[in-house]
Amino acid sequence: MGSATSDLPSLRTPLSDAAEAGLKIVIVGGFGVGKTTLVRSVSEIRPLNTEELMTQAGVGVDETRQVATKTTTTVAFDFGRISLNKRLVLYLFGAPGQERFWFLWDRLFSGTLGAVVLVDTRRMDESWYAIDRLEHHKTPFVVAVNRFDDEPDRYSLDEIRQALCLPAHVPLVDCDARVRSSGKGVLITLVDHLYEMAMAQEMTL
């Protein structure tokens, strides 16, 4: 998967000894929509790949020996990281949006700050499911449109919002996943959105 990039260290770079808390943001989207590219463009490490076990039924690993049975499959995902300050480190996960992945959502991503749904306008239908599942899991999210050069028609954000039936309060932005400042902008949009909602929630308490 990840092609080597020369500007990122290829050896493990340890966190500061003062690092206290890891935080999570998940980037969800269909095949080839640019998840890994976005993670790479903002990460301080080369994106790493890992996997979790899943039984055929999607229930997880439970019974004795299930861990090694041949019917166990794996779900792979990649991640990068951003040291926010000496104490806080943010992990960005690139997660495939397909159905079976959602069986693992709680086990992997409970407590996530929020999610970015990455959209490719050439395959917009693939984003529907992700949006529906995030709503189901009550995970706050923003939507980012990764613009590819060979897009047939350049849909406006308004048209995309309509096509996705996206409520007005969910931020929708353009991005170029290959560009660091653009990826950074998407993350700021998400956390800004979370902050506004958290402030509103705290006011009503």
Partner: protein
């Protein structure tokens, strides 16, 4: 996403590593930071020794898993062993919130500052 039979060479490798256990310690989040409390010792299970080696500085569970090429569940089992032996300490993320509850605004502000300073 890849979906394929677990291809780990020897199909019993994971079984051997975990001693057949499948109950993982759910207290370990993907981003729980692990720190070694002692150096590896001769005669330790090699995976345990490897973890102690990797965690001289705080290291997230998911980074250890990627480095060791082991699934998350297996990492949780191995880390549970080491924690019970007092050989690692774990720095957990902010505790899970009830569904639909948002993270603390002060924390979010800290995240925003961190991102803006990138």
């Amino acid at each position: 996403m890849t979906r394929r039979p677990v291809d780990i060479g020897d199909p019993d490798r994971l079984y051997t590593i975990t001693g057949g256990r499948s109950r993982a310690d759910d207290a370990f989040d993907l981003v729980t930071l692990i720190v070694s409390e002692s150096a590896p010792r001769a005669g330790m299970q090699s995976e345990h020794a490897r973890i102690l080696d990797l965690c001289r500085h705080p290291t997230a569970l998911v980074e250890i898993a990627a480095e060791m090429k082991l699934p998350i569940t297996v990492m949780r089992i191995l880390l549970g062993d080491l924690l019970a032996m007092g050989r690692i300490s774990a720095r957990h993320p902010p505790p899970p919130r009830p569904q639909a509850a948002l993270p603390d605004s002060a924390l979010l502000l800290e995240v925003l500052h961190g991102l803006r300073n990138l």
